[in-house]
């Protein structure tokens, strides 16, 4: 079903505006509650004075605590309750302040929610949205920083999304909530919450392809496949390299991590012959590995150079700022990696952006959360 046209009210409403990721999430939640009487939002902090980082702020007073409510600290039961509610006619939006906390309901997500339709031979469906937030920076440390998209994408039965922009949220959330009939996990990035985006109705994000990947920058020299916040880094690197070295990067926002647009990736790699994958997580067994699999299985000969991947270092996330800076990829490491592949050597001679750490925008992030 092509329903983005039925669900693009938000895109239309905000077209021409500048909206933060946070605001777009808020509008998506508000809109869902107002359009769809079966929607309930349940999670820790959704009805408090901070309203899940502002994305559900005051919605419980607007729509009633019956529809937007605080839950006990009981992640597994709440995921199961969401499933049961979905089977009996509600559309639950279950939220997690951090991806890490959702590990407490992996049983329900992996053993039940992902499998409910299949093991009943299609007799049951459980449409629902599970939102979880990746933390990064300002001492998030080992257990508030994980980016576990590959865990969820690994399991058949789940649709896993990583919106990188406000428009992605405005385009996909209404479709997911009002038209899509299965469980969706959306992994949002905390550092994107305050980033502002121009909403354009005819952008790649408002295409008629909800839950898919987006080709957001054209170029002939190299393909960058990126997720979440790394999409922004990829765009910045692409801009920098065009200006400083005349390198033209093609950028694909993977967006739908569990079901990426393979054709889009292959078309691009066939054209550029060079590929770099920039993910928010560890490389091994994750998005980086998966995109490599797609290319290797479809057209290994398309590659004119070895693939490079960027992600978190293979360690637990450290808390100290100095270590954390080494832990994550950044504009500099990404730019360097692109230059190496395109030039075919490590001493490519292209000056690197001196900004070592995060961009101006999200460097502003001050915790605690």
């Amino acid at each position: 079903m092509n329903s983005s046209t039925d669900n693009n009210g938000l895109m239309k409403r905000f077209s021409g505006n500048i909206l933060s990721y946070r605001e777009s999430l808020f509008h998506a939640m508000d809109d869902a509650l107002s359009i769809n009487p079966h929607v309930v939002i349940m999670g820790q902090g959704v009805a408090d004075h901070k309203g899940l980082f502002g994305t559900t702020l005051n919605l419980s007073s607007k729509y009633g605590t019956d529809r937007v409510f605080e839950t006990p600290l009981a992640e597994e039961a709440m995921a199961g309750i969401a499933l049961g509610a979905s089977l009996n006619g509600l559309y639950p939006i279950n939220t997690h302040l951090r991806v890490d906390f959702a590990l407490c309901c992996m049983n329900q997500i992996v053993n039940l929610i992902a499998k409910y339709k299949y093991m009943s031979g299609g007799r049951f469906e459980c449409p629902m949205l599970i939102r979880m937030v990746i933390g990064r920076s300002w001492g998030q440390g080992a257990q508030h920083s994980q980016s576990l998209q590959s865990f969820f994408s690994h399991v058949p039965g789940l649709m896993v999304l990583m919106p990188s922009r406000a428009d992605s949220i405005l385009n996909d959330y209404p479709y997911i909530i009002n038209s899509y009939r299965g469980p969706v996990i959306s992994i949002e990035h905390r550092l994107l919450y305050d980033v502002k985006f121009n909403i354009e109705q005819d952008s790649e994000y408002s295409s008629d392809k909800p839950l898919s990947s987006h080709l957001i920058r054209k170029g002939n020299d190299i393909t960058i496949v990126a997720t979440s916040i790394m999409v922004l880094e990829a765009l910045r690197a692409a801009q920098y390299l065009l200006k400083n070295a005349g390198i033209e990067c093609e950028v694909i926002d993977l967006n739908c991590v569990s079901h990426p647009d393979k054709e889009m990736i292959m078309n691009s790699v066939n054209k550029t012959g060079k590929l770099i994958i920039a993910d928010t997580s560890w490389q091994a067994y994750g998005v980086c590995a998966e995109v490599c699999r797609i290319v290797c299985e479809n057209s290994p000969n398309s590659l004119k150079a070895p693939v490079m991947t960027l992600g978190m270092q293979p360690a637990t996330c450290p808390t100290a700022k100095t270590l954390e800076d080494y832990f994550y990829p950044n504009l500099q490491t990404l730019t360097d990696a692109i230059a190496r592949i395109v030039c075919g050597k490590a001493n490519h001679g292209i000056p690197l952006p001196d900004e070592h750490s995060m961009s101006d925008v999200y460097k502003k992030f001050k915790g605690p959360f």
């Binding site: 079966h38 309930v40 019956d66 529809r67 839950t71 006990p72 009981a74 597994e76 039961a77 709440m78 995921a79 199961g80 309750i81 969401a82 499933l83 049961g84 509610a85 979905s86 089977l87 009996n88 006619g89 509600l90 639950p92 049983n107 329900q108 053993n111 039940l112 409910y116 339709k117 299949y118 093991m119 009943s120 031979g121 299609g122 007799r123 049951f124 058949p156 039965g157 789940l158 649709m159 299965g182």
Partner: protein
Amino acid sequence: MKFDNLYEELFYKSLRIRLIEKKIIELYPTDKIQSPVHLSIGQEAVAVGVCQELKTTDLIFPNYRGHAYYLARGGNLKEFFAEIYGKRTGCCRGKGGSMHLAGPEIGFMGASAIVASTIPHAVGAAMAARKLKKDQIIIAVFGDGATDEGVYHESLNFASLHKLPVIFVCENNDLAVHTHTSTRQAYKIFEHAAVYGLPTHYCEEGYDIIKVHEAFSPLVAEARITKLPQYIEIKTCRYLEHVGVNEDYDAGYRSVSEIEEWKRKDPLIIEKELIDKYQTTILAEIEDAVMFAENSPWPLLEDLLTDVI
């Protein structure tokens, strides 16, 4: 089918379940049922007593030991056998099997082989019933072992806190696989459940269909009016091994005399006259259903990747 009295009706339903599962025992060595089966033999009265006063619109969330509930709720016997045979005509198109029966048409909301995992589903369905103002009672069925799990406690808390129309039914056969409750639990099940602030009940005579019915029907009546959560623990006895079709008394983990005591009181063993009265009809129905399963097609390659997402 018409019955002279309630007892005969309940007896007939229980006997039917027992004979169906006995058929499974008979068929098992042929290897036509290629999957684990958790039989309810010895526990039928609980399922029948619990389901008797339910309406089709009420929902039940069972577990892997779920044949009895599927059948007590009026599940299609042909689709049942076809499912455990792994046939395309099964109630889950062959994708579920014995441990994952599903019957939305009879309010049988899907069985899971992860202990305790469907308890929160019942609570969630009850939450939906309340919010959508549905005139429904929701039943969660689970074993004594399920009460070891954290999600059980989380679910009771939420149901009680939000006053949801769910009845929790604990089938206490005193065993989780081969391990007794006394080895696993520092609490008494129904007494402990009361700490969550919901009314709890206990039925000691789980072999007695009338007693179970008498214990459970007031809960259903109450739930129709108050729509509040309730709890009942029903003592019962699993006659066979945990999974599979054999007795395993020689394994030494349970007392044979205890099982024999249950059997001495089991109407499905001692009521010879009633057994004779009904078994021919039931056996014919079973043969018919088994033939249906035998003659049904297998799922095909084209079915493998449907209903994934």
